[in-house]
């Protein structure tokens, strides 16, 4: 029972990160039908920029909270600029190309970003500054920390903010219109280029926040940290129904829970044959299962051709 509660907490925390990153995938996919493979790398860049800026500022004598806040702000701005340039340079010229063309470009961009990051920050694991208080709590035998609470609350706030933006603002209305039918939206006076760019910029800002949270949670950052996270977040987006914002949030939390429970119990279930180091395969099994049995995802509409 204690393990169950503990795994649920861990799953919820991990899931809230997946959800934040999944929103970036789903925003872009919903609007232009592109899997932005490089999205995980944006998360990684966000974490590494925050790490460097915070490190430099604390070295210059600023208190940690101020350095950390500035680090996060710089990371968000950098990622927004990165997302904008990715769209502008790599994807926009290919908007009318056959579907596989932008996907291959996205894979290429992912490799480029990873290797650029490796050149800038090196191959080694880096210590991420402890941005959040370390206080720990204990309820019913399960432990959780202040970092975890802050993470879940931040993700929830970001998601509410995004939902407000998409469903209550002019830009959000333009985004939804473009997602439904970009041609008609264009005829109605929506500036498609601006809407697509906005989707990339917003997704990247969420990714930067997710990157900082992952770094602060594990207290470690690395040039490859975004890749697996990106894949899993994509899985979460597919699980919830890609293109569907609520679906991405639910899918993220659900995937986090599945992983945590799976890793916690796989040893018992298989009589010790498979251990928790198989944690990473759950996401892929979920992905394959969803695509085979319910390609539209749990909350997605039937999209027919797309899947």
């Amino acid at each position: 029972m204690e393990t169950l509660l503990q795994q649920l907490i861990n799953g919820l925390v991990q899931g809230s990160i997946y959800a934040l990153v999944a929103l970036g995938y789903t925003l872009v996919y919903g609007i232009m039908g592109l899997i932005n493979f490089a999205h995980g790398e944006v998360v990684m860049i966000g974490a590494l920029v925050a790490l460097s800026v915070t490190g430099a500022l604390t070295a210059a004598g600023l208190p940690l909270w101020l350095a950390g806040a500035l680090g996060i702000a710089v990371a968000i701005l950098t990622c927004m600029a990165l997302g904008w340039s990715l769209e502008r340079i790599a994807y926009r010229p290919l908007r009318h190309a056959p579907r596989l063309t932008p996907l291959i470009t996205a894979i290429g961009m992912s490799i480029v970003l990873q290797n650029l990051a490796m050149m800038l920050w090196g191959r080694n694991y880096m210590q991420f500054p402890a941005l959040f208080p370390k206080a720990a709590f204990s309820v019913g035998g399960a432990h959780f920390t202040a970092v975890q609470i802050i993470m879940v609350l931040t993700s929830a706030a970001m998601m509410i903010g995004l939902a407000f933006l998409v469903y209550r603002t002019r830009l959000g209305m333009a985004m939804r219109a473009t997602a439904q039918n970009s041609q008609v939206a264009g005829l109605m006076g929506v500036n498609i280029d601006r809407v697509v760019a906005a989707a990339f910029v917003i997704g990247s800002a969420l990714a930067a926040v997710a990157g900082v949270m992952v770094g602060a949670y594990y207290e470690i950052a690395h040039y490859q940290m975004g890749f697996m996270l990106g894949l899993k977040a994509f899985t979460a987006a597919v699980l919830g129904g890609i293109g569907n914002l609520g679906g991405a949030m639910a899918g993220g939390i659900l995937l986090g829970l599945i992983e945590a429970l799976g890793a916690g119990y796989i040893g018992d279930l298989t009589g010790g044959f498979l251990g928790s180091h198989y944690q990473d395969i759950f996401a892929f099994i979920v992905l394959i299962a969803v695509l085979v049995f319910r390609p539209a995802g749990l909350f997605g509409e039937k999209t027919g051709e797309r899947a």
Partner: protein, 353 residues
Amino acid sequence: MKTWLSPRSTAGLIMIAGALLALPFLAASGGQAWVRILDFAILYVFLALGLNIVVGFAGLLDLGYIAFYGVGAYVYALLASPHFGLHWPIWAILPIGAFVACLFGMLLGAPTLKLRGDYLAIVTLGFGEIIRIFLNNLDAPVNITNGALGLNLIDPVRLGSLSLAGTSEWGALSLSGPQKYYFLLVTLAIVVVVINLRLQHSRIGRAWQAIREDEVAAKAIGINTRNIKLLAFAMGASFGGIAGGIFAAMQGFISPESFSLTESVMILAMVVLGGMGHIPGVIFGALLLAVLPEVLRYAVVPAQKALFGSVLIDPESLRMLVFGLALVLVMRFRPAGLWPSPERKRELAEVSE
């Protein structure tokens, strides 16, 4: 097909054959390392042609191709190393490796047949990762793959009494290990090229092409799309399995590290850069990307030392950076590849209008 080859292409073939025979000796003058590079280049040609069946002919974007290569390599390593104490001969193992890889290909293909395009890419990627995770972790409780440490002391290829490892002498002719592997690999590569060429214009090849262009239409004219797509996966996987077996024998050591996503992307880059579905283009792409890193290694390090006095960027990371950039730039400016087939070029021209 009365005259199979025109005089012009016969002359071309003779020239290619001459070049292929002379290459290992030319390369050896620069050291055995270059012969090994040549061996790997041909192994990559082999792999790229296998992937070309799936990606180029049938249009199914497979990002987990390296898994089949890995399966083939592990089958060879398990059946011909001290790990289980088995030392089976190559002619027994390669078909088993091809068959097991083929089974895995079907295992991947069967559930993903309904998916297309980008979804298929992600699922195959996930499949490749699952295989790698299993290779990495199947050392407990029963030690099958020896985990991240990998398997070593793998037997070299033996043909009768001739071992391909070490130097052999026949009178004045002396062949080093890598040179002998070179001839084995070239022979196999030629077989694969011929199979590819024959497939391309066969009934199956045309069915693949039809599926690539328009699956619904292909179904409507009576093509059994399910079986034909499975066949593409199975054939591509078998070639990957055979290549993996040779790789294991040549290296004498394998570990899950060799079968990462990076490798899958690299082989995909070879196919895409060369020209999807165009056999000469794919061969060109594979040779280019296999030799390029070595050239970088020899050119970049001295250049940096001369310019900056130290090595700032190691050639390995530069290699991947160049791959990534190449993918992006080729998709932007030459989406049909550097050496596309005439048909593919035409199709893309039509789409962009």
